[in-house]
Symmetry: C2
Subunit: 229 residues, 2 copies
């Protein structure tokens, strides 16, 4: 019975996610779901990307957190439209939350919707939000063994962004181990190394995301890797 | 119906947790549930503690991970009895998993059972495992805002261990902000600062845990803070 219920919930979520994606496609808005551990540097990465997108892409952000609005305030301070979702204990965003939050935006004034998921390397893996691309963030201070311990979320992502590379000399993180792990789990995924705080590597990631946003075939049948596996 | 099911699951877990605790109490084994983000340094902290416990406490470890046995191999290499639980996707340990894993140990040969939970700042907060003490680990590279974003897990812990303090000069982490946040959420919790990799602060934490293990009233009614709130 429990398993049936879980399957039903996931099916309902998948259907709502497809509706979200159809709405995004119709408006020509590209959506990115950013996942990663608490404190891996998701918001700092977004802050760094906005500067590179100025005049090229009109972004908006949905922030997902258990509680508080710390991240939304940071995005708001940069003049980027933002909605904060407080999940009140829930460990991941779902398609219903995104549908509700997206009502606050004028899609006609946007090119890119960035969804920053709840900091969690486990639960967000199973929930399609209607995004076109899933980007997983891993900081070098977390260790390269995270790809072995949390395979699903890496397997279901289209890009791996390794953050805080300025701290590499102070850690035992092995870039080649992490890259090899990602190639094994998601052979077609792009891999980036950045220090969002000081800007190294951010321009390359920003350019790649602009290309992805422009190249995506905007058909309602488009779905992220999570749905193909 | 979903809410009823969730309540039932939590009630069943609480009952099993009490049975785990009664078994630990009867054997005089003190149990610690270690929670924290992926890569916050839980295993490195354990490795550092074992040296300080030699001749004072006989420890054993239960390792919880979605997949792999990386951490259990590290504990095993130090000659400490260890059981690896692979949750196969589940985002936290529960009392049933602990009951099954604990069968591998001879409680008469132990003083301390350390349970390293799945790396996750959200889901483990709600699940009593039968432990006597919950210890939350936060690395300075994650940022001091984690106490605002993930309040439940800090609120339900008896001690906060701030790790990787050697990296403080390279981060914007504010120790006073983190300490103030913890005092607000869990006024009676102890707060420690350590660098597990180089050993700073580990002796103090090791001594404190020895005292806790010896002082705990071993009655079956004993339950962690999670059950009092």
């Amino acid at each position: 019975m429990k398993i049936v219920a879980a399957t039903k919930i996931l099916k309902a979520n998948d259907q709502l996610a497809e509706e979200n994606r159809a709405r995004l496609n119709a408006a020509g808005v590209f959506a990115v779901n950013v996942v990663g551990s608490p404190g891996c540097g998701k918001t700092t990465l977004l802050e760094a990307l906005f500067g590179h997108w100025r005049g090229r892409l009109r972004p908006a952000v949905i922030e997902g957190d258990i509680a508080g609005s710390v991240d939304a305030e940071r995005i708001d301070a940069l003049g980027v439209p933002v909605v904060q979702i407080n999940t009140e204990g829930a460990c991941h965003l779902d398609a219903t939350m995104i549908a509700a939050a997206a009502e606050s935006f004028d899609y006609a004034a946007l090119d890119l919707l960035v969804i920053e998921n709840v900091g969690n390397l486990v639960c967000p893996a199973g929930f399609d939000l209607g995004e076109h691309l899933r980007l997983v963030v891993l900081s070098v201070t977390e260790g390269d063994d995270k790809l072995i311990k949390y395979p699903a979320i890496f397997q279901r992502s289209h890009a791996l962004v390794i953050t805080k590379v300025d701290l590499l000399p102070h850690t035992n993180f092995k870039l080649d181990q992490a890259a090899a792990g990602m190639r094994r789990l998601a052979p077609e995924a792009a891999i980036f190394q950045v220090c969002a705080l000081h800007g190294e590597g951010v321009a390359g990631l920003a350019d790649w995301l602009v290309l992805q946003a422009r190249a995506v075939p905007r058909s309602p049948s488009q779905s992220p890797r999570s749905q193909q596996s």
